[in-house]
Symmetry: C2
Amino acid sequence: MKLNILGCYSATPRTFTNPTSQVLEINNHLFLIDCGEGTQVQLRKHKIKFNRIKHIFISHLHGDHFFGLVGLISTFRLLTREADLHIYAPKGLKEVIILQMKLAKSWTNYNLIFHELTSTESQVIFEDDKVEVSTIPLDHRVYTNGFLFKEKPGDRKLDMNAVLNEDIEIAYYRKLKQGFDVENKNGDLVKNETVTFPPEKPKSYAFCSDTAYNEAIVPLIKNADVIYHESTFLEQHAHLAPKTKHSTAKEAAKIAKLANVGKLILGHYSTRYDDINMFKTEANEFFENVELADDGKVFEL
Amino acid sequence: MKLNILGCYSATPRTFTNPTSQVLEINNHLFLIDCGEGTQVQLRKHKIKFNRIKHIFISHLHGDHFFGLVGLISTFRLLTREADLHIYAPKGLKEVIILQMKLAKSWTNYNLIFHELTSTESQVIFEDDKVEVSTIPLDHRVYTNGFLFKEKPGDRKLDMNAVLNEDIEIAYYRKLKQGFDVENKNGDLVKNETVTFPPEKPKSYAFCSDTAYNEAIVPLIKNADVIYHESTFLEQHAHLAPKTKHSTAKEAAKIAKLANVGKLILGHYSTRYDDINMFKTEANEFFENVELADDGKVFEL
């Protein structure tokens, strides 16, 4: 699992900082999460292959989280994309995109499939045999979802020494990986756990931005390996957080602690701060494993 | 008159090239012309004061000419702008902007005034005592206007030696500048042209993008000091120009020659070309005073 931070600053794009966008690489998927203005240029800068992006998740319809999407959709067309593109976003985004395409007498030469979100309960919005994505309802000024990306448990691993000693037909290897007991060539039953190792622990990543401090998300992200939680403000501006429905670094750390996650990545910093290191310092008072997102930073998870 | 090229490449923003946007400084106005994605960052890079922009002219509703506008409008709000903002654009843009503001539960704390354009005849769309802006109907795949920015004739200049010799009351200087004959202190009539110089020739700039080769614009831009004319293609791809309703460098030069303009600036280059110098070479076969626009280039006109 690999997380590319394309942009992690709030509000407005500036010369050296970008609004929210990140790419999560998980089990061969490239999931694009949010798409602020300039995202397509950030994708180019970080040499991320446009045609590997098949699913885009938009948290909410504030401009710093989606103004780059319509341009990306147009660029996909210019690059003669053919693969389907799925967009998971609050209801309303489809209308915005379609209206602009209509005015431009434009079209896509690929299927553009909108999955409009309206539920305030967590729901599974994507699933295949390896990964599941569900929403994390957040508390912001407009309808907002975070997203939980979870690997599904993988196959058990063969203990090849034990398998060969037991003289098991190759045709049964698949069944062993799936956890079944099998017969060996002598017709004896071989217990699965005597010839296999358990699968690797499936990883999970939760994206939580933008949101006020909201303990209701704790059960949804409980024990996640990594969470990205917005921390727009430092303590000195804590009074602005509830009003704007954003969080402080300290609040992000409290959520991380309550949810017992493995790692907390902070981001969505207000552009009023010149030095982002204070976010880590303040979060560390409540939670140890804190890292700072920054534009261009890559986390190998 | 000063022209800042913020972006002059066609189609899609890339790491080192930007879609169309330029700022024309003329008689203390800062007019923003087109606003592709990333324009607000280009404005920052080139240290153009956001609050000096009061009028934005959008040629047409292809994304590479307006996808940056909604973000710029939002940023103006975050910067607590109070001054009115006038937007001159094809009908439809207002709906796009308002829809996105509604979805974001956003607002502007300044007056956002749309002047929706639908006429296919040239019309004056802005006028004050110093400058006039009129549309140049262009021939593109969607409804498109270029814009002609014209200084109004200024005051005559006083020939101070002659004025003092004639012993004219200071109170009459304003009338002299306006071209009137006046009486001197002795009661003699003084002919205006004996004590004043003619005003400087008013300057004009025509922005013509995007458009197919279209001789119909020649009367509108006749004798302009400077024109920016799109040249998406070189001769080797001339067959693509009519189909996509764009121009070649040669066609831009032909228009410049027919209109007898002072200078031709080329831009809106297709991103398929690595070296833009060929645009000048090809245009120079038909017109001498050709310059190449490039992102970040400033023309003092």
